[in-house]
Amino acid sequence: MNDAAARNFEYLAYGLIACWLILIGYVLTLVSRERRIRQQMESLQRMLEDKEGK
């Protein structure tokens, strides 16, 4: 494989890696938001139960 062809493949790999990284990055933001929502939901439910108990 000559230099130009090798460079082509190298940049193609960068492109594919960039696509996967963006996808994984967005999925990770969804996961962290999901965790935050669950925590908020649990703490609010506890707070409401405490208030109802009083």
């Binding site: 130009a4 062809a5 460079r7 082509n8 493949f9 940049y11 193609l12 960068y14 492109g15 594919l16 960039a18 696509c19 963006i22 996808l23 990055g25 967005y26 999925v27 969804l30 938001r33 999901e34 929502i37 908020q40 939901m41 609010l44 439910q45 707070m47 409401l48 208030k51």
Partner: protein, 225 residues
């Protein structure tokens, strides 16, 4: 049940993508002038299609919210815009990597590239606007207006290569453009799993938005005690 179906759909889409990558690397010949880098089109163009489709869905959702005042449409708008931005970023970055090899530069301020960047920034501004407004109905109303206004740039981005002389190539999928049948089949074949992934992401994001609204309602209930 619904969540499991979505995860299964996402997993199937990821498997199809992996199989497509294998096929495009081993089963398709290099493009005569561009060589191996041409294969980046199988991600660059489907990412753009998905991005524009998401933005179009957000336009419909924005109009529907203003008509019905149903917050479900606000969830659709924010979900599709977030996912559209992710695919828009993939389109811009793969385009830059492709340009570095073919044009020798990462970026040029031609009509297509500049309008796409402006479009992306406008929709990113939509998310900033949402975060700045606390009150849910006011946030939904202004966001709907912003999503409708932002969409006005999309046709300009799409047709800029027809209307102006640009460094970006002319369309190869419609008009006078031509593309080899094998390449065309791979391009559309790769769009299918990308679209499946986008649908999964939008659905998951919508479920989160629904739960966030429930939390807001619970907060109001807690304050009312």
């Amino acid at each position: 049940m619904r969540e499991k179906t979505l995860y299964a759909l996402g997993a199937v889409a990821a498997l199809i993508l992996v199989r497509n990558i294998h096929t495009m690397l081993t089963g398709l010949p290099d493009e005569a002038f561009q060589g191996a880098i041409f294969r980046i089109i199988f991600f660059h163009v489907p990412a753009a299609f998905t991005c524009f489709l998401c933005f179009f869905a957000s336009l419909i959702a924005g109009i529907s919210y203003l008509k019905t005042k149903n917050l479900k449409w606000d969830s659709v708008a924010v979900s599709t815009i977030e996912v559209g931005l992710a695919f828009g970023a993939a389109n811009l970055i793969t385009g830059m990597i492709w340009a570095r090899i073919i044009w020798g530069i990462w970026w040029t301020w031609d009509w297509r590239l500049t309008s796409m960047l402006i479009c992306w920034l406008l929709y990113a501004g939509y998310l900033v606007l949402r975060n700045a407004i606390e009150e849910p109905t006011e946030r939904a109303r202004l966001s709907a207006v912003m999503s409708i206004l932002s969409f006005s740039v999309v046709p300009f981005v799409f047709f800029s290569i027809k209307w102006f002389r640009t460094q970006h190539p002319q369309p190869v999928l419609y008009g006078e453009g031509k593309m080899d049948g094998g390449y065309r089949a791979m391009l559309y074949g790769n769009w299918v799993p990308i679209l499946m992934i986008a649908i999964c992401l939008v659905a998951v994001r919508m479920m989160q938005e629904k739960r966030q609204r429930e939390i807001d309602a619970m907060r109001r209930a807690a304050h009312a005690f």
